[in-house]
């Protein structure tokens, strides 16, 4: 066992963990933050995406001990009181069907618009293609990200 310290959604955690535990397992099984999904365990599907120090990463591939001292944001940390514009746009545009990839898509979108406030269509596609979605064909997710960018440009900030 190894003791680690990390911040998740603004809260500091000190926990003894098995060194082989992934960040995904830590979030789901230790903290019961089940919004981060387990789709393949090997970094193919992207459903386990979280933000690590602000950047999207695949939590199923990262041993939690590697996140020592880092700040993790999961889907549960995106909207406290109200929906983030990316979330709002995804609801309004019908970008959600089964919803299993949705938390990862939201985090992809939040990161994209944080770094590229006016993304091009190709940048949006690039961002979306990191996570598999089998329901939507991606069309409405892309529209939602572009709509969210417009909203945020007009001052609707999270």
């Amino acid at each position: 066992m190894k003791v680690i310290t990390l911040k998740v959604n603004g809260h500091c955690f000190v926990k003894a963990v098995c060194p082989s535990m992934t960040l995904l397992e830590f979030l789901r099984e230790e903290l019961h933050l089940t919004g981060t999904k387990r789709g393949c365990d090997v970094g193919d599907c992207g459903c386990c995406t979280v933000l690590l120090d602000g950047k999207p990463i695949l939590s199923c591939l990262l041993p939690v001990i590697e996140a020592e001292g880092c700040e993790v944001v999961t889907i549960e940390g995106i909207s406290e009181c109200r929906l983030h514009p990316v979330q709002e746009a995804m609801v309004e545009q019908g970008a959600i069907q089964c919803g299993f990839c949705t938390p990862a898509m939201v985090l992809n979108g939040v990161h994209l618009l944080g770094t590229h406030p006016r993304p091009t269509v190709d940048q949006v596609k690039e961002c979306v293609s990191g996570t598999l979605c089998r329901c939507t064909g991606y069309t409405k997710i892309e529209t939602a990200f572009l709509e969210a960018a417009k909203k945020m440009e007009h001052g609707d900030n999270p």
């Binding site: 919004g35 789709g39 599907c45 019908g94 959600i96 069907q97 089964c98 919803g99």
Partner: protein, 799 residues
């Protein structure tokens, strides 16, 4: 066209906010108290006798609480009562790589893994049968000796209508071809998961990622020999199904058994590779087909020979076998038609239902052949199809009722929007445009279990606060079924969606619905929900009349709009399900914006608050409760297999697709698709669009890249890295046309939108490739290597 206030409006799906915030609980997100972790040991061989199976070392490990093998189960399972041939765990022999042979329940996942490694299994390998042609031949060791058949043939179906010989003789062009199709998996993102809670009296609550809670309920009861009332099946949020979660599956039975043996709650999550092994995907298929076309008479004859490779077990295979032929009956009349379909067992993954079930591959063959025939006769493929399409209110030769059909208008609009005439045969080499059409059932008219119970029952309650709770057994699998049910109830009662809560897919709380498969939910559960809402409205009208001190209305039975070819069934009454698109409730009231207004009589113009009326009604009766049902009318002929493909209504689809083919690399890019889909009244246009876009994604996956690769019976690409599905970059520009008809029996005139769209996009790509570079690809997926081989062959022919 309509005066609806909720129906037909783009509506974000019920549950979207839960999903977008990560609060939605999928099966593995539920935390049952202190569960044992279940793991399965799987066969490394495609075919073998199990000569020894010893769990003693595994069970001796501290922290291991239970273990089971095939011997712990007395019966076999299978979704169709006529072909239950799959043991929950292999007994005596294994039939595919990945088949579960034993299961362990332990205190932790690491202990469970350790225990699985301690299981001693010895196999005597048997020569596997991996080839579907060889499977037809006699063998000394059939895969299912218990069937006492000389070969590995599982099911053989034949139907013939009209006179083929005369039909082909009267054609001006007869074309034929051989086609083959790779095996596919559904590739939904949520892996299979099941959790079981057990109480002190051994009552089970089974949470499972399933499209068919009712069938799972029945299967658990049968396999565990427990009465139904001791089992409650709950489907939590579900991460995609597409047919892959529409069978009761071995791991679900095994998890429940382990809960019973250990007396403990259990948790089971299959990994991605196991999920590939467990899904019953699209059958690998070989088709030989012949089609005769006459420029005036239309398709004069069609005959097809299909061979479908079912893998190790039956699943939906009997239905798939029929669907391969009967789903050729639309969207054009074919007076002389015959097909023969053989389904064989092989030592590969079991195949079953996948979006467009059974109709997808023959659709490719027939639409490519129709294109070839048009070319022979120098006919425009779109104009020809326009002339051929079924008229509304006709009967096909195998006695399918075509109630509504808006495809003609749809295809004509698609031609305009895509500028078909300016493009076909006129685009530069390497660019092409192609067309294909299809049709699909809106729910199977016959239930899988032969009984007279309504195919869907929906119950509504309204308590003193006026909020409506909808109880339905239908499974929302992401397609939006909870949303359409809520919309329909909101429409009838004139209240907003925020006042409606849907409780669905819980066998303890909800009345029976057969599940989410065969595109049945909108039509069948939808009609039941509307039926229940109309009955609720009657009660509220009575209360309103009491307040207004007027006589309650005398309901007149509407002329059933379906008077055309009803064949038996119950007589429709006012609140029957057969009100179709008719918005007239015959009660003299308007229910809108939570107000109930009298439109005629003494009280004309008076308006009551919906909540006040509810309060009065509740004071009189207590909680208000109604129930609505749907039972398909009696349909179809009396010949063998007449029930296959019968549906109360059919959807229709046309695709015009534009592609760019790179003759150097063979790479195909789909640039634009124009899709016309006749789903009757689009109840929720946002969801209809989502279904069309998703079907295009999945159809293009099959068209261009998807396929399971087998070596010696073992799937080589059971991961998302190696089983490629289209990414955002492959999704083409899409134009959609979908408001094309009103079905007289569909709820508010609606039909299906989730499956029919998929099939015709694949041949539309093939026909566009022909327009682009002059090659006919007959092997799906149409990968660059096949394009290059065909181009080389064509060049060879020219030199």
């Amino acid at each position: 066209m309509s005066s609806y206030t909720v129906i037909g409006k783009p509506t974000p799906m019920v549950g979207s906010r839960e999903k977008v915030t990560g609060k939605a609980k999928f099966t593995d997100d539920i935390r049952v108290a202190n569960p044992l972790i279940v793991g399965l040991l799987r066969s490394p061989l495609a075919s073998a006798k199990i000569s020894r199976l010893d769990l003693s070392a595994a069970l001796a490990l501290e922290g291991v609480r239970a273990g089971v093998t095939g011997k712990d189960f007395d019966s076999t399972i299978g979704v169709l009562p006529i072909s239950r041939d799959e043991p929950p765990l292999a007994r005596d022999c294994v039939r595919y790589v990945g088949e579960p042979v034993a299961a362990i329940a332990a205190e932790s996942s690491s202990l469970c893994r350790q225990a699985l490694e301690l299981i001693r299994v010895e196999y005597d390998p048997i020569e596997p049968c991996l080839d579907s042609r060889k499977a037809l031949k006699e063998t000394s060791h059939p895969i299912h000796p218990e069937l006492k058949k000389p070969s590995n043939l599982h099911k053989s179906v034949t139907q013939q209508f009209g006179n083929l010989e005369k039909g082909f003789a009267s054609a001006q062009a007869v074309v034929e071809g051989s086609f083959d199709f790779a095996p596919l998996t559904h590739a939904f993102t949520e892996p299979f998961a099941t959790q079981v809670e057990i109480d002190t009296d051994s009552n089970l609550t089974v949470y499972s990622a399933t499209q068919v809670p009712h069938y799972l309920h029945l299967a658990l009861s049968g396999a565990l020999q427990l009465p139904l009332h001791k089992i409650r099946v709950v489907k939590p949020y579900l991460g995609g199904g597409f047919g892959g979660k529409s069978d009761p599956l071995p791991h679900e039975i095994v998890a429940a058994r382990l809960a019973l043996i250990s007396g403990r709650n259990v948790r089971l999550l299959l990994d991605r590779e196991e999920t590939f092994f467990t899904s019953h995907g699209r059958h690998p298929t070989q088709i030989g087909m012949r089609l005769g076309l006459h420029s005036k008479k239309g398709i004069t004859a069609l005959s097809g020979e299909m061979l479908i490779d079912g893998g190790a077990y039956a699943s939906y295979g009997v239905v798939t076998s029929y669907y391969n032929g009967v789903l050729l009956q639309g969207p054009y009349p074919i007076p002389n038609l015959s097909f023969h379909c053989d389904r064989v067992y092989t030592n590969k993954l079991t195949c079953g239902a996948m979006r467009g079930h059974g109709g997808v591959n023959p659709r490719f063959a027939s639409e490519v052949l129709l294109d070839m025939a048009c070319e022979k006769l120098q006919l425009d493929p779109c104009e020809t199809r326009l002339r051929l399409i079924h008229k509304a209110e006709t009967l096909t030769v195998n006695q399918f009722r075509i109630t509504s059909c808006g495809l003609k208008e749809g295809l004509a609009t698609a031609m305009e929007r895509s500028r078909w005439k300016e493009k076909v045969k006129k685009l530069p080499f390497g660019r092409g445009i192609g067309v294909a059409c299809g049709f699909f059932i809106s729910g199977s008219a016959l239930p899988i279990h032969w009984n007279k119970i309504p195919q869907s029952t929906v119950r509504l309650t309204i308590d003193f606060d006026g909020a409506v709770t909808v109880y339905s057994g239908a499974s929302d699998i992401g397609q939006g079924s909870d949303t359409v049910l809520a919309q329909m109830v909101a429409e009838v009662l004139g209240i907003s969606l925020s006042h409606i809560k849907v409780i669905s897919a819980d066998t303890r709380l909800c009345p029976v619905d057969l599940g989410s498969y065969s595109s049945r939910v909108t039509f069948m559960a939808g009609n039941a929900a509307r039926n229940a809402a109309i009955r609720m409205r009657k009660g509220l009208v009575a209360a309103a009349c009491g307040i207004l001190e007027i006589k309650p209305p005398r309901y007149r039975n509407p002329k059933p709009a379906e008077s055309f070819f009803r064949q038996g069934g119950r007589k429709p009454d006012f609140d029957s399900a057969y009100l179709g698109p008719n918005p007239d409730y015959s009660d003299g009231f308007l229910f809108q914006d939570a107000k109930i207004s009298a439109l005629s009589g003494k009280a004309k113009g008076k308006q009551l608050d919906y909540f006040e009326v509810v309060k009065t009604a509740v004071e009189d009766h207590g909680t208000l409760q109604t129930q609505g049902i749907y039972l398909s009318p009696k349909l179809g002929g009396t010949f063998k297999g007449a029930g296959a493909g019968l549906s109360p209504s059919y959807s229709f689809t046309a695709f015009i697709t534009e592609v760019t083919v790179n003759p150097q690399t063979g790479f195909i890019k789909v640039d634009k698709v124009t899709c016309a889909h006749d789903c009757g009244q689009p109840l929720n246009p946002m969801a209809v669009e989502g279904q069309i876009e998703g079907s295009i994604h999945m159809g293009l996956g099959q068209a261009l890249m998807e396929g399971l690769d087998y070596v010696n019976g073992a799937v080589q690409n059971a991961s998302f890295l190696e089983y490629k599905i289209p990414s955002a970059f492959e999704q083409p520009e899409i134009e959609m046309i979908y408001d094309l008809s009103r079905d007289n029996e569909g709820p508010f005139g609606a039909k299906e939108a989730g499956e029919g769209v998929l099939a015709p996009i694949i041949p539309s790509v093939a026909n566009a490739i022909y327009d682009a570079v002059g090659i006919r690809l007959c092997s799906v997926p149409m990968t660059p290597d096949k394009v290059l081989a065909a181009l080389n062959a064509k060049r060879g022919n020219h030199t």
